[in-house]
Structure formats: structure tokens, C-alpha cells
């Protein structure tokens, strides 16, 4: 069994709110990421998935946020949370890279794309400007941008959205990182471009052998690309399974709700179902199981006690009392 390239244990990222309260945006998240695999992190906005990804690179603004002591983030055996600033910078963009949702705003508008890609090679690998420029052109080629010798001197506003996202990917991969975190990489793009970008990520993963953590709210994206999926809700992981398992045998009612709300073309027309209620504010998570106000199966225990992650099957966990008391599931067939 190979070692995970990234180990996260009990990650907690809290924010101080305006009124003086505490928003527990990420409240005890743990997972492993293995080399060469794609891990999907799924959830609605407000569930803490983006904060989780930013925490990995320690990009959380220090006031008002902070990562609680007791959290562990280990990349290739090194604890990122105890690294000195200089060592941390050597990791960012080099061993652990990140691409963001909005490629237009994530690229500096007054620098050429070539300069921005080359920068990583210059800073981390000590390449000369000329060598770095050549590497930038190689990367542009790698991510499938035609005429890289011409594009390398373009400014971000001169490229289309899809091309800009490819540039972001090139920028992130220039130093061949072990892990790539992709935060909603396709959300801002057209559907056809989405497919191309996902395919590109897939190809690059195979060619470069890196692990990818794919963060999205779109289950369709996850179904096509991820090997394993983690579902987040209210700052916690509520279910984790391999992709086929999750889609075929979801356990947590939230996951079921998410799957049910995806419009289907292969079924007869029916009302779209949603999950009633809204995501609670991070400063006031509900007591007991955080999903209980919106859960069709909730009973007293759910309101009072918070469940831990129970094992449902091999490689499949769920944070739900239904795992322990399956009879409580409403509409379940009598045993």
C-alpha cells in the first residue's frame, strides 16, 4: 500500500467574525491523498471546501482567520503548518500548486503570460530568463495552446477564457508539483470548454504522475474525473467513498439529496427535487448532527449528539446515525 502524498488530520480553520464570534469554517477535516489519484471535494457554497484548499497552502488571511493548533497537514512527510515562511514558499508552486476559479482575475493583467509562467521556474528552480522563457513555451505546448511562441508574449486580456485557464494550469505545473489543487477550475467556463479542461487535467495527471484535488459543487464534474469523492457539509466531511460507490450507494442523506437534485435526461419528466432549507452560517452550526434541520430522517439522537465518521464498507465512510441505526431511515423496508 503506497504512502499518501498528502495527509490532513483534524484540520480546523476558524475566523473571528465582526460581532466578535467565531466562524468555524473548517471544523475537523481529515483525508489522505495518494499519488496519481484524483480526489473530488464536493459541497454547496458555504460548506468550507474552498477554505480547506486555501488552508493547505496557508493562504488564509491571518487576522481574521487562523488554523487551529492540533491540525496537521503533511506533504511528503513534512508538516506544512510548522514550516518557516521561507520553506513554505519553497513548497508553494513547487511541490504543491493551486489553480483558482476565475482565470481572468487570477492572472496579473499587466504582465505577459509568458513572464507569469516563467516566474515559477526562475524563483524555484533558478533558471535563467531565457531558459525559463523556453520552459514557458514548452508548458504552453503541453497544455494545448497553439502557437506557443506567439502566445508567450500575450497579455491575459488577449486570450479567451479557456486559454486563460490553460495558462493557469501551465503556471501551476511549471515546476512539476506532486499535488495540484484545482478550486472550481471549470465553473467560470462554457460547458464545451469545461470538458476540454477536464480532459487536459486528466491527461496531464497521467503524464506527470501527480495527485489532483478537485474542488467543485458540480457532481457531474466529479463523476467524470474523480477516483474518490469527499462530500463536505458545514465544515466537516460527511461522506467519503470511491466515485462509483458514492453514486451507486450513497448513505448520507445530504449526499442523497445532492444526487437527487441533479436534473436527469434519462428519466421521465418529474419535479426537480432540492434539499429544503439553507446552509447554516459558520458561526452558528446546529447542535448535534449539523444536517439535522434539513434531514428527512432526523430523530432525537440527531438533534442531540453529533455523529462521527462511521465505516459503511471498505473505503466508504459516512457521518450519520443511520449507519448505526438503519431502521430509522424513513420509508425503509421493514427488515
Amino acid at each position: 500500500m503506497t504512502e499518501p502524498v498528502l495527509r490532513v488530520r483534524d484540520l480546523k480553520t476558524y475566523f473571528v467574525t465582526e460581532g466578535g464570534g467565531t466562524a468555524r469554517a473548517v471544523d475537523g477535516v481529515s483525508f489522505d491523498l495518494y499519488p496519481g489519484e484524483t480526489l473530488g471535494l464536493v459541497g454547496e457554497s458555504g460548506c468550507g471546501k474552498t477554505i480547506t484548499s486555501l488552508s493547505l497552502l496557508r493562504l488564509i488571511p491571518e487576522p481574521p482567520g487562523h488554523i487551529r493548533p492540533g491540525s496537521l497537514i503533511e506533504l511528503e512527510g513534512r508538516n506544512l503548518l510548522t514550516l518557516a515562511p521561507r520553506d513554505l514558499r519553497a513548497v508553494r508552486g513547487n511541490r504543491l500548486a493551486m489553480i483558482f476559479q476565475e482565470p481572468m482575475s487570477s492572472l496579473n493583467p499587466v504582465l505577459t503570460v509568458g513572464d507569469q509562467i516563467a516566474e515559477g521556474a526562475i524563483v524555484h528552480q533558478g533558471l535563467s530568463r531565457r531558459a525559463a522563457r523556453a520552459r514557458a513555451m514548452e508548458m504552453l505546448q503541453l497544455v494545448g495552446i497553439p502557437d506557443p511562441e506567439l502566445r508567450v508574449d500575450d497579455y491575459p486580456h488577449q486570450l479567451s477564457g479557456g486559454m486563460r485557464q490553460r495558462v493557469m494550469i501551465a503556471m501551476a505545473l511549471v515546476c512539476h508539483p506532486q499535488v495540484l489543487i484545482a478550486d472550481e477550475p471549470t465553473t467560470a467556463l462554457d460547458v464545451t470548454i469545461q470538458a476540454q479542461i477536464l480532459e487536459l487535467l486528466d491527461r496531464l495527471q497521467r503524464e506527470l504522475g501527480m495527485a489532483i484535488m478537485l474542488i467543485t459543487h458540480d457532481l457531474g464534474v466529479v463523476a467524470g474525473t474523480a477516483d474518490r469523492v469527499l462530500v463536505m457539509y458545514a465544515g466537516e466531511v460527511v461522506e467519503g467513498a470511491s466515485t462509483p460507490d458514492l453514486f451507486a450507494h450513497p448513505v448520507h442523506p445530504y449526499t442523497e439529496g445532492l444526487l437527487a437534485s441533479v436534473p436527469r435526461l434519462d428519466r421521465p419528466r418529474e419535479r426537480l427535487s432540492g434539499i429544503p432549507g439553507t446552509v447554516p452560517a459558520a458561526s452558528a452550526w446546529p447542535s448535534g448532527c449539523r444536517f439535522h434541520p434539513r434531514c428527512p430522517h432526523a430523530w432525537d439522537r440527531c438533534r442531540q449528539e453529533e455523529p462521527t465518521l462511521f465505516e459503511v464498507g471498505p473505503g466508504h465512510t459516512a457521518r450519520c446515525w443511520l449507519v448505526v441505526e438503519p431502521a430509522r431511515r424513513r420509508g425503509a423496508a421493514a427488515p
Binding site: 473571528v16 467574525t17 465582526e18 487576522p63 481574521p64
Partner: protein, 313 residues
Amino acid sequence: MSGARWFAVLAVIAWSALAALVLRQRFERRGADHRGPGRRFVRARGTLIAVGILVFFATVALVAPLLTPYRPSLQLDIVRLQNAPPSWGHPLGTDLYSRDTWSRIAYGARVSLSVGTLAMLLAATLGALVGAAAGYFRRWTDAVLMRLVDVGLAIPRIFILLVAAALTTHLPLATLVLMLGLTSWFATSRLVRAEVLSIRERDFVASARALGGGAWRVIFRHVLPNVAAPLIVSMALGIAQVMLLEAALSFLGVGVQPPTPSWGNMIAEGRDQLATAPWTTIFPGLAIVLVVMALNTVADALRDALDPRQETP
């Protein structure tokens, strides 16, 4: 200065501090400032002091006779009290003509503050009207008005005022206020125009028009109230700018004419005695600095309170 006067001055200082505290309670800033204790500390205390300073000078201007033992143009003992340094009897010294500096500053507050405020009000009104008209009616009105504003902004204000002053033998106070107001509205109009342009697209304007409101009615009742926030901030800054301009003009001899004291012409008169009696120059200048600083600080605080979208520089 007699004990009673000293007491009166201290009373005004105490009243200013109290008023500042009360006002601060009332206008507790909405919008968060959770970004670090350092900034919050400076902000809160700075604004408090600023409001206190403004209340102080406004009160001094109002009740000057109660606080000053001498009339500002009263020439006291011209032999022994000429250019006398600060002392108990004359807390801020006397000037070349043996006039008490403190009294002149107190009466000068009346002139400088009222000129500043009145001129600013004129400029703000003009600027708001022109800006609203340009932003609301657009096309020709906008084009013509904004070209006018461009010309107005091209000539530095002091030059316009100097030309006006050169054309007459002297500028009476009312004319001075008028001229200051007429030359200070250009930037405000651009500001208001920008706001109006964005507001006019909003739905409530469309519904007001659909309900049959005439253009100016819509402007006054619906559009302008929403422009109030940046306008108020620019008004606070405007008073500061006009005061500095009036001081400069008085310093050059074309603003407020002696013997009426204005902080600017006091500095001019003190200039020749700079080496022997620097207090006649320093104190009026200090008064200007304090009021202008206070106005700038209050403008910043107002910007925070009224328009949380706009980050204060």
C-alpha cells in the same frame, strides 16, 4: 486676560470634549472594523479629537466676545505691548500693532469658518445641480455642462480668483464668498454626475418616472438623496479646501482685507515680524492646520459610516 475669561475658555474646551463624545455615541459607525486593533484605535480616538476640535472652533467663533478681553482691532499700549511674546495677560502674544493675538484668532475664526462654510455650500449646491442635470439628462446637456467643467478644472482656482481680484480695487467679503463658491463646484459636479449615472439605471428611478414624475421631481426626491453619502463627504473636504484657498488669498492680500482678522491675513501681517515675533505667524497657521486636519478626519469617518462600500484611503 482675567480669570473669568480663562475659565470661559476652559469651559468651551470641556464642552467641546463632551459634545464630541455625545456625537460619537450617536454616529456609532455601522460597518465593521475588525481589522486589527491599531487602526481601530487611531480611528476612534482620532475622530473623537477631530469632532472636538471642530466644535471648539465653531463655539469660539460663535461666542468670541465672551472669550476675549479685547476687540480684535483694539490697539493696546503701542509702546510696551508691541510684539509682546505670550504671557498670562496675552496668552498668544501681541502683534505689530499691539493687538492681542488670541482675540484676533477668535474673531478670525468667525471670518474663516463662515467664509469656508458658505462658499462650500454654494459650491456644493451648484455642483450637485449641474452634476445631477448632466448625469440625468445626458446627451447635449451632459456634453455642454461637462465641457464647461473641463474648462473650469483647467484653470487653477487661485489664478481665476487672482484675475478677478486684479480687475477690481478690492473684493468685499460677500463677493469673495461668491467667487470662492463659483470656482469650487467643478469637481463636485463630476462626482455627482458619476453617482447619478449609476443610480438612474436602477429600478426605483424607472418606477418613479413610470408613475409620472417630472424630471426634476424625480431628481430631487429619488436620485439626489442617494447621492447624499459621497456628497456629504466631499462637502467636509470642500470646507477644508476653501479655507485653505481663502487663507492663501488673504495671505496674498486679495482675500479678507485688514483690519478684519482672517487667519490668512494674520499670517501675512506676521510675515515681516517673523524673526522678532514668530507667534503672530505660527498661531493663526496652527489654527488653520487644526481645523483642516479635523475636517479631513471627519470626512474619512463619514465615508466609513455612510458608504461602507467605499474603502477609506
